[in-house]
């Protein structure tokens, strides 16, 4: 068990949540996704100077990739604003109010005037080349078992376009998601353990759902993590969609920074300095040496006219092989840089050779050629000459940084909880005022409107759920559920349906479908709406809900064209007369039996009738009717 206190672990969260507003943030398009498109646009982006006259490193880095961006234009979800062919409209007041309400809910302070900024992002995900974003609130905190966690900023911003495909020369995006409002909640670096990070993320997510004004489903909430340990630097980890992955990502990142600091100490112990590594960093064209190699990777590149470079790295023997995270060594870090910044497939390093078809004999020859001695290491790179020349510099920069410890990076989350290098960290230089939108004064009137939509605290919400008749356990389930807003919606819309039935359906029935061979994912809000509507108007009985949903989800799974209304009507409740008729008929045909087993007559009839009407009539109703009819017979 790692002692995170001793490590000085500091974690900050950035939670991005899509808002369920009627329009996008800066135009009148609906906030829906759509795959249907007829037109595409082709664009290029260039870095620009910031307000303070600098060019952002991250922007420059993207530009050097020189990619063409292709945008799909779904007409249902986009207009000229997303195409960057019309200036943005005023900010959606609906979104602004949610931002203000959340600021107040976290005990923060709204700013006096909101300035929309352009955050330069030239990877093509925004047609304009920037994301529009604005701070609406500052300060505040959220309560946690391990102490208050501060909220630094609350921002309202636009979501980016959806990446569809990334090829060598171009990136394809769909513009539907571009402009959907997001709220960004950034905590201070006050989180000190991986588990606490997950807990706080959950709490913030719950607060957002309690507003009843956020979207749900995959991709509507994204977490970024800022992680550092004493002596390390703040690393940004982007695009975490699975809450469960948060603790592991933090654990591995802390481990990585710790190992990088250990590498730094080891290098210093070996007497390494920037000067002696630089002067001993010898690069040689070793293509001739590999003419007869058995390594397929190398042969393939040589056939294409590529070259093999050998690089001597003084003092680095054994360093490349040090594991920073499970299955990711220091060599992997260097390799990541080469892949991203020089476009090569990767590197071979001394600590993993012989391997990959490279023989011990070849390794020895490389060592001779490069004059690799004692604690020296070496790296081999293979490929096009221009890329190799670029890679030589990239590798040198990264290796020299090992003497400083942890580089400032933006990293991407892998599925196993490890991370990979994405790009250098962007700085404040990428912020520029959005000149097309005048500043927005936060008036008393806006604050008043925001106060009306402040979400209840979880404790208040729990109480109100219990007051609806839910057991404490069920109430807690609903409170922590991503379907919380659906529960509120259906309870309000269908007053004749018991809240307990709605809660049970949402929290238990849907989940249990899986064990019966159904698919919980198939049960959309639309399906639920139809079912509760039928129940509200007495068309079906509540007992038939599990069967209806199971039938629907099973048929849906088989890919058939399923119609929920059709299924509902097949489960329709029997009218009083119909039910009476069935009961009377059953009594008639079973007369002999009833007279024989007089005391058990009720049970017999109940069984027979229920087998005929299950799902179409409530058990209690059937029982009442049978008793009434039996009384008539028996007098």
């Amino acid at each position: 068990m790692i002692d995170y206190n001793k490590l000085g672990l500091k974690v900050g969260l950035e939670i991005h949540q899509q808002l369920d507003t009627s329009t996008k943030l800066f135009c009148n398009c609906p906030t829906i996704l759509s795959e249907e498109y007829k037109n595409t646009l082709e664009r290029y982006l260039r870095p620009v100077f910031s307000e303070t006259g600098e060019i952002d490193v991250a922007a420059l880095f993207e530009w050097e990739k020189n990619k063409k961006y292709v945008y799909r234009i779904p007409q249902q979800a986009t207009c000229l604003v997303e195409c960057d062919e019309e200036p943005p409209h005023r900010m959606s007041e609906e979104a602004l109010l949610i931002g203000l309400a959340m600021t107040l809910a976290f005990h923060g302070t709204p700013v006096d005037e909101v300035y929309v900024m352009r955050k330069v992002v030239i990877d093509g995900s925004n047609t304009s080349g920037f994301q529009r974003t604005s701070i609406v609130g500052l300060g505040g905190y959220i309560e946690d078992e391990d102490g208050k966690v501060s909220i630094q900023t609350i921002a309202i911003e636009e979501d980016a376009a959806r990446k569809i495909e990334d090829t060598k020369d171009s990136v394809i995006y769909n513009l539907d998601r571009l402009g959907i409002p997001l709220i960004e909640i950034s905590t201070g670096p006050d989180i000190h353990s991986p588990e606490q990070a997950k807990r706080v993320a959950l709490k913030i997510g719950q607060m957002l759902r309690l507003t009843g004004r956020v979207k749900r489903g995959l991709g509507t909430i994204r977490q970024d993590l800022n992680v550092s340990i004493t002596g390390g630097v703040k690393t940004e980890i982007k695009g975490v969609q699975e809450l469960d992955l948060i603790p592991k990502l933090i654990e591995y990142e802390a481990m990585r920074q710790l190992k990088l600091l250990e590498i730094k100490d080891e290098l210093i112990k070996r007497g390494a300095t920037k000067e002696n590594i630089s002067s001993g960093y010898v690069v040689k064209d070793l293509t001739e040496l590999f003419k007869e190699t058995k390594s397929n990777v190398i042969l393939r590149e040589l056939k294409k006219g590529g070259k093999v470079y050998g690089i001597k790295v003084p003092h680095f023997k054994g360093i490349f092989g040090i594991e920073l995270m499970p299955n990711r060594r220091f060599g992997t870090e260097v390799s990541d840089y080469v892949k991203v910044l020089a476009g090569l497939g990767g590197i071979f390093h001394i600590d993993e050779l012989p391997n990959y078809g490279i023989s011990q004999e070849e390794v020895n020859k490389v060592k001779d050629e490069l004059n690799v001695k004692d604690d020296d290491g070496f790296i081999l790179i293979v490929g096009e000459k221009s890329k190799l020349d670029l890679a030589v510099q990239v590798i040198k920069d990264r290796i020299l940084y090992a003497l400083e410890g942890v580089p400032k990076e933006t990293r991407g989350a892998n599925e196993d909880g490890t991370t990979r290098f994405l790009r250098p960290q962007p700085g404040a230089a990428r912020m520029y005022p959005e000149t097309d939108i005048p500043p927005i004064r936060i008036t008393e009137d806006l604050i008043k409107k925001a106060k009306e939509i402040i979400p209840p605290t979880p404790e208040e919400k729990l109480k109100s759920l219990i007051s609806l008749g839910l057991s404490e356990e069920l109430a807690k389930q609903v409170l922590n559920s991503p379907r919380l807003d659906s529960f509120d919606y259906f309870v309000k819309k269908y007053p004749k349906v018991s809240p307990v039935v709605i809660a049970t359906t949402l929290e238990n029935t849907i989940k249990s479908l899986k064990s019966q061979g159904g698919d919980p994912e198939a049960i959309t809000d639309y399906v639920l709406d139809s079912v509760f509507d039928a129940l509200n108007s007495g068309k079906i009985s509540k007992d038939s809900i599990p069967e209806i949903l199971l039938k629907y989800s099973k048929e849906k799974k088989e890919g058939e064209n399923v119609n929920i209304d059709k299924i509902i009507s097949s489960f329709s409740s029997l009218s009083e007369e119909e039910l009476e008729k069935i009961v009377k008929e059953t009594i008639e045909t079973s007369k002999e039996e009833i007279t024989k087993k007089r005391d058990k007559a009720f049970n017999i009839l109940m069984g027979k009738v229920m087998s005929k009407v299950r799902g179409r009539a409530d058990g209690k109703r059937v029982a009442d009717l049978i008793r009434r009819e039996l009384e008539k017979i028996n007098g």
């Binding site: 646009l41 082709e42 664009r43 982006l45 307000e51 900024m117 352009r118 955050k119 500043p439």
Partner: protein, 439 residues
Amino acid sequence: MLEGYRGSALQSLLQINADIGDLIEIEKNGNTYKGILMPSYSPYDDIIVIKLDNGYNIGVSIISAKIKLIKKKSESQKETQEVSKSTKSEIKIISTGGTIVSKIEYETGAVRPALSTEDIIKFMPEINNIAKISAEILFAILSENMTPEHWIKIAEAVKRAFKEGNEGVVIAHGTDTMAYTASALAFSLKLPGPVVLVGSQRSSDRPSSDAAINLYSSVLLAKKAPFGEVVINMHGESSDTYTLAHRGVKVRKMHTSRRDAFQSINDKPLAKVGWKENKVEILRSDYIPKRDEVEEDAKFDTHVFLLKYYPGLTPDILEYLMDKKIRGVILEGTGLGHVATSFVDYIKKMTKDGVFVGMTSQCLFGRVNMNVYTTGRLLQEAGVVPLEDMLPEVAIVKLMWVLAHESDQEKVKKLMLTNLVGEINPRHSLDFFPRWNYD
């Protein structure tokens, strides 16, 4: 200089001796805001704008706040280098202002022309691969503030540029009135090479700006095009694929914001420019060829009026114009070239007094024909001159130029109907009209 600040915010900043760029701290209701003081473009005078260290700007009201200077701005500001004036160039870029050379103006928060063309060249070094260029900042105004006085200065600058030995000239210009300037130059100049007006619909301070591609293509066009004409070269479609060079007297800005806002009307563009392929494709052979020498004759009489007719407009407006000593009126009439018959007598009086009255159509597409309906014939009898397929804006600029050169009414009429630089297209083919596709 406390750019943009007034009233109470200005007072507070002066008290602590703060300047733009200084680090300041504002304490208010128990909160502390620390950031760099930025110029203000707030409409309120109690707001102080600071940039937080994450790069965001926020506005904080000075009301019941305490403000403190933390650190003066470091004085390591780099002086902008003077670009050495190269003596010999192939293409001259004359900058007049507009979005293509814009950046934020803090007083209003909107965009204003500011960057020099050199800045753009610094930003787009690729231009150096196609031509040796030199740059001149003539003025930096938004195109809505352009006047005939400016047209004359531009025409003179173009003449100078050719005299200096340049093969072509590129003029950076705001898009709003670019077509008027293009017409004015077209009537005023006889050219030994192309004059390319260029602008941008997305300001050059944004990564998605069309400025770079438009400017690059324009230099390429100025270098390679075989004609001696004034053209407007802008995006040919919304995608960053190619630009189109439209004849200066046959083009209109047809959209408020799209990149491909400029369209040839009643005509085809002269050339298509591929910036990626470095290719200029000439689309028609009837362009005006280059002459040996440049000739400039820019004079404009502004005693003219462009009158757009609408139902309900009464003819007494013409009396008012007469009082104002107007020498010529271009009517933007309905359909084939009509205004209400109530105008006939007033027009008769005007033309008798020596005022030129010409007719264009608010349909924009198509030619006027004043023989089809009675009103048209009555108007002609009253002295109205039907101006073929000339665009109303082109006709008014041409009239300014003609009136500055001629006073004889018959000669004015003859010049107005002479096709001087391609402003009249005698043949319209079926494909000259845009169709919308709703499938």
